[in-house]
Amino acid sequence: MKKFNYQELVDSEQALQKRSIFWEPAIYEEELKQIFNRCWLFLGHESQLPQPGDFIRTYMGEDDVIVVRGKDKVIRAFLNACTHRGNKVCQAEGGNTRSFTCSYHGWSFNTEGELAGVPLEKEIYDNLPRERFGLVPVARLESYKGLLFGCFSESAPSLIEYLGDIAWYIDVVTDSAEGGLEVVGAPYKTEIPGNWKLPVENAIGDGYHVAWAHAGAMSVVGAIGSGRSDNVLGITANNMGVDQSGAVEIVMNTHTVLTTLDGQSGYALYDHPEPVLAHLEKNRPRVIEKLGELRGRQLYGSETHIGVFPNVQIIQGLNFIRIIHPKGPGKFEVWTYAMCERGMPDATKEIIHDHVRQTFGPAGLLEGDDGDFVEAITHSAAGYATRQMQGFLGMGMGRKAPWDGPGEASPGLVNEACQRGFYDQWRRTMEADNAYEVIGQTAPVAPVTAVVKELRHG
């Protein structure tokens, strides 16, 4: 029994999305259950937790989660909720610790999640079964090449099955990185008054808005600002024209990719791209050898937006990982982590880091524009008549581009293929009776025995 008429909410044939999906509390509640309690969700990167005792706090849906490397070097994730009465056991956003001590009655938990200390235990309890009161672990935690994901569903497919074809694209970021991928310790965090789906599909596929919504920023940053070029990403200054030839939007069953295929335009918005471009060319032969011609020449260095459903975007070129945490139907937090190749010279890393801050940090020249329409789309759906309206994402429908990699490609980055893919996946996930259907497969006949895979590091 489906809770809602999803055919009516997301009409894939006509590319229409009813605006109540951004506003209705009941739909949002169902999203927390169907999407955030069953999909693999991005937690962080192993480079944030190099030492035993290193921890970060994040969210899975609205659940507050601690990710910590234990004394045994294993990375685990727990609900940030005391097993006594439910207070948070950790209020810091990250750091290094030997234990998590609850501020209410002082129960304390070690970095492996075990209940390690109970004040006055001998005097007040008779045989408290401590083993029953460890922190509640997130059911599954797996790493894909350093990218940590957690999942609340015991019966969900493995992370690698869930990622499916998108892993082929993620490899361009993880495997090409000289010395491995490196993520800055702490993210930028901003709370925006809009529905979480809007910033996600904006980041994974909305090439159409770039030149117009960001017109002010686009005329002062990077190639246009410095006079090196009068077009960025195929879009001419002042939105006067668009060259759709060199880019594709690619939709897989579950996830999406937008990429420019030219091997360097990821750096088109940089004020000083030269050192980064030099690094790319120095590293490129190694990438070609490792990942082949197509990925080495056409994807490595391109502006590439990898959207992993539901809420993480890995963006090569702009070089950040972005998570959208839902905070009720009308609010979200956006967390932005700069990423770079560990083996890059420090000065090159600095250029990337500066660029992330300057463009998509909370005071970024481009970042500031998007919150406004995301808010308006969400909150004007408070009006009953407005809420009956549908958004239209029909651009580029039926247009196909030749593409030898996984997924179905549609030409140009001014295209709405990825956004359609996102809402189709949203619908599939909301309708799915079990966690396997989320990826468009039926569950194995025999029930899957949950295996909590632990990550070992020597």
């Binding site: 937790l49 490196e182 909370p362 970042e367």
Partner: protein, 180 residues
């Protein structure tokens, strides 16, 4: 959280006149920004200005931040060209969020002045509240404190360094596209 470079011991008492002039200068600067006179604001900066806003990371007092090879996180870390780029963006007339016009209001208070080792430079601490009102009821506000180095030049007071500290960790606003 104070920046080490700015922790300078007073070398001599500050004259009443200088302290008064600095207070007037900061009020005038705030008004220039409130009135969106960005090219004029740029003239109040030295060419070698460094303007920073660090992120107020919430770690435990006893704990170090998780190790990373990257430098600390800043929301803004600009020299003059970066600030000019921000000002230029505002002046394009293409920032839709500011049309209808945004109403700005800055309150600068608790001004404390100290001398530094450089005779014509002063360490100036202040607290601020900044409000933006847009459209019907899109009101955002931020509070924090600043540590400035103000330089006395033949042309008048100039800002040579500014570190802006916000009290919020998660920025609760659609953007921080403004000068503090």
């Amino acid at each position: 959280m104070a920046n080490a470079e700015l922790k300078l011991a007073p070398t001599a008492p500050v004259s009443f006149e200088q302290e008064y002039a600095i207070g007037k200068f900061l009020s005038m600067e705030a008004r220039v920004l409130d009135e969106e006179r960005y090219p004029e604001w740029l003239e109040l900066l030295t060419e070698d200005i460094r303007y920073q806003m660090p992120v107020a990371i919430s770690t435990y007092r006893r704990a170090r931040q998780g190790s990373t090879t990257l430098k600390p996180l800043f929301i803004i870390d600009d020299g003059f060209p970066g600030l000019k780029q921000r000002a230029d963006r505002e002046a394009t007339g293409l920032v839709w969020l500011n049309d209808p016009a945004t109403r700005h209001l800055r309150i600068i208070t608790n001004i404390e002045v100290e001398t530094t080792d450089t005779p014509n430079e002063f360490l100036v601490r202040s607290k601020f509240m900044i409000f933006r009102g847009r459209r019907d009821k899109d009101i955002a506000s931020h509070a924090g404190w600043r540590e400035d180095i103000l330089r006395q030049t033949p042309q008048g007071w100039r800002i040579a360094r500014r570190v802006v500290h916000l009290i919020e960790r998660v920025v609760i606003d659609k953007n921080l596209n403004m000068f503090f």
